[in-house]
């Protein structure tokens, strides 16, 4: 026997901003933002892991703050400003965090990377010089099974150097 499933078939339509574009999206009303992004908007950069709030890989920014998209209703996003990993690179190329994650090897399987990138982006926007303890605490909601975290912390610290405008990163 499988989990009793939802029976609602009629979609609803909501408008919200995703990575700078205002989008009108149709989706089933019981869907989470994670499901809407991946299944209805085909933005599969946002990953699904536990789907219960434990792993953080589904983290996106909602009005600039990190949230777990597996625990946000699509319905609750009306009028919101959502940023996913697809929106991180700018016209001048990848975000400094994306560059250092790649150059330092802060990803192995890479499944946790979108969650880390967005959580770190929100952090460096209010504190571009976090000490290691602050970094550990702020990133503690995202789990990584591969790297052991050191390279992730280094990559954020290295990106902060560029973000503060103190020099070029490799």
């Amino acid at each position: 026997m499988t989990t009793p499933q939802a029976t609602v078939r009629r979609k609803v339509q909501r408008t919200f901003t995703v990575n700078g574009d205002v989008e009108e999206v149709s989706f089933l009303p019981h869907k989470t933002l994670l499901e809407v992004l991946r299944e209805d908007m085909h933005l599969t950069g946002t990953k699904h892991g536990c789907e219960l709030g434990e792993c953080g890989t589904c983290t996106v920014l909602m009005n600039g703050e990190p949230v777990l998209s597996c625990l946000v209703l699509g319905l609750a996003c009306e009028g919101a400003d959502i940023e996913t990993v697809e929106g991180m690179a700018g016209p001048d190329g990848p975000h400094p965090l994306q560059k250092t994650f790649a150059s330092i090897g802060a990803a192995q399987c890479g499944y946790c990377t979108p969650g880390f990138l967005l959580t770190a982006k929100a952090l460096v926007e209010w504190n571009s010089n976090p000490d290691r303890e602050t970094l550990k605490e702020e990133l503690s909601g995202v789990l990584c099974r591969c790297t052991g975290y050191l390279q992730i912390f280094q990559a954020v610290e290295e990106a902060c150097v560029e973000i503060r405008g103190e020099g070029e990163t490799k």
Binding site: M1, T2, T3, P4, Q5, A6, T7, V8, P29, H30, K31, T32, E35, H48, E51, L52, G53, G56, T59, E65, P66, V67, L68, C70, L71, V72, L73, L75, A76, T119, E137, E138, S140, G141, V142
Partner: protein
């Protein structure tokens, strides 16, 4: 994908409308604040409310304000992150901020509210599992079944209260305001929790929590200590909140509340009594810790071995009291 069951959705703008919708829909409706407890539970089919009433647009349920009598009013819809970032609350109510900061992770605290934390569902190893897992053991007393797998034969459910702020609210003497079609009532945090894993709150399904009021703490000192497997984030397997007020060197008032060992946070009455009128000597603290340990009955339904968790009650109560004693010296 682990999907939510279907529901009708309302996102009203006022507390009054929330209450009206709840009254109209009956007990099959549920309030949702941050959803960080309710949505995982709905995905596992612990709860399948027909209607959700979201508090996200109800501004009057947010905000913190200090009153002229030194008390603090907290809107239950305030997110945990906002409370931990408030320097005044950190200075004046350090035990509350310690409890808030120990809840889950920064990203979850960015969504979860203080009201949702106080109304947290009780937890148990046989309950916090997905639908298929629970079906394989023919469900349990708390949800869909008729046997308590922690204490087969038990007529009551032993799922534990794992809220980090609940014991602190009790120790600090907080009052909670609830509104419903029957009007407004105020309950002491002490009377808000019930020692029944299924019927764990004195709040009725049609009642909305609108205000949390923490009285002026005067010259008392308080602390919250939490035991868990992973320090980065985990539910408590033991939480101890304590508050002491001195008269000279002698204890005038004592509050000690233990959580995550039973369906409701529990006041250690005997320990409190043993402290009053005494100096906080090592012997007095050890006696108070022993008196908290004796009646506590953790069962085999959370992380860690339950006999060890019982021993830790003694250790953590002593540590909490030692912490308060040294804070009086500063």
């Amino acid at each position: 994908m682990m999907r939510l069951p279907a529901f009708a959705y309302h996102a009203p703008n006022s507390a009054r409308e929330v209450v009206e919708i709840l009254a109209g829909e009956g007990p099959s409706a549920s309030i949702v604040a941050g959803g960080t407890d309710l949505f995982p539970n709905m995905k596992r089919r612990h709860q399948t409310p027909k209607t959700l009433v979201s508090l996200q647009d109800v501004d009057e349920l947010r905000g913190v304000s200090w009153q002229s009598d030194g008390s603090l009013r907290i809107g239950p819809g305030e997110i945990l992150r906002a409370l931990e970032r408030d320097a005044d609350i950190g200075n004046r109510l350090p035990a509350l901020v310690a409890a808030v900061r120990s809840i889950s992770t920064p990203v979850l605290r960015n969504m979860g509210t203080i009201g949702g934390n106080l109304c947290l569902d009780t937890r148990c190893n046989y309950y916090n599992q997905n639908y298929e897992w629970r079906r394989a053991i023919n469900f349990c007393l708390k949800c869909d079944g008729d046997t308590c797998w922690v204490a087969p034969g038990s007529k009551v459910c032993w799922a534990v209260n794992s809220s980090d702020t609940a014991p602190v609210m009790m120790a600090l003497g907080a009052k909670l305001r609830l509104i419903s079609p029957r009007g407004t009532r105020e309950v002491d945090a002490q009377d808000f929790f019930q020692n029944d894993g299924i019927d764990y709150l004195a709040k009725k399904p049609d009642e909305l929590l609108t205000d949390i009021e923490i009285p002026d703490q005067g010259k008392s000192r308080s602390v919250y200590l939490k035991l868990r497997r992973r320090d980065a984030f985990d539910f408590p397997v033991l939480g101890v909140a304590a508050r002491i007020e001195l008269d000279g060197e002698v204890v005038k008032n004592a509050d000690i509340v233990i959580n995550a060992v039973s369906p409701a946070p529990t006041r250690a009455n005997a320990s409190e009594k043993a402290l009053i009128g005494k100096k906080m000597s090592d012997d007095v603290l050890a006696e108070a810790a022993l008196l908290a340990y004796k009646p506590s009955k953790p069962l085999d339904n959370t992380d860690f071995e339950y006999a060890w968790r019982k021993k830790m009650v003694k250790v953590y109560v002593r540590r909490a009291l030692e912490h308060i004693r040294s804070s009086f010296l500063i």
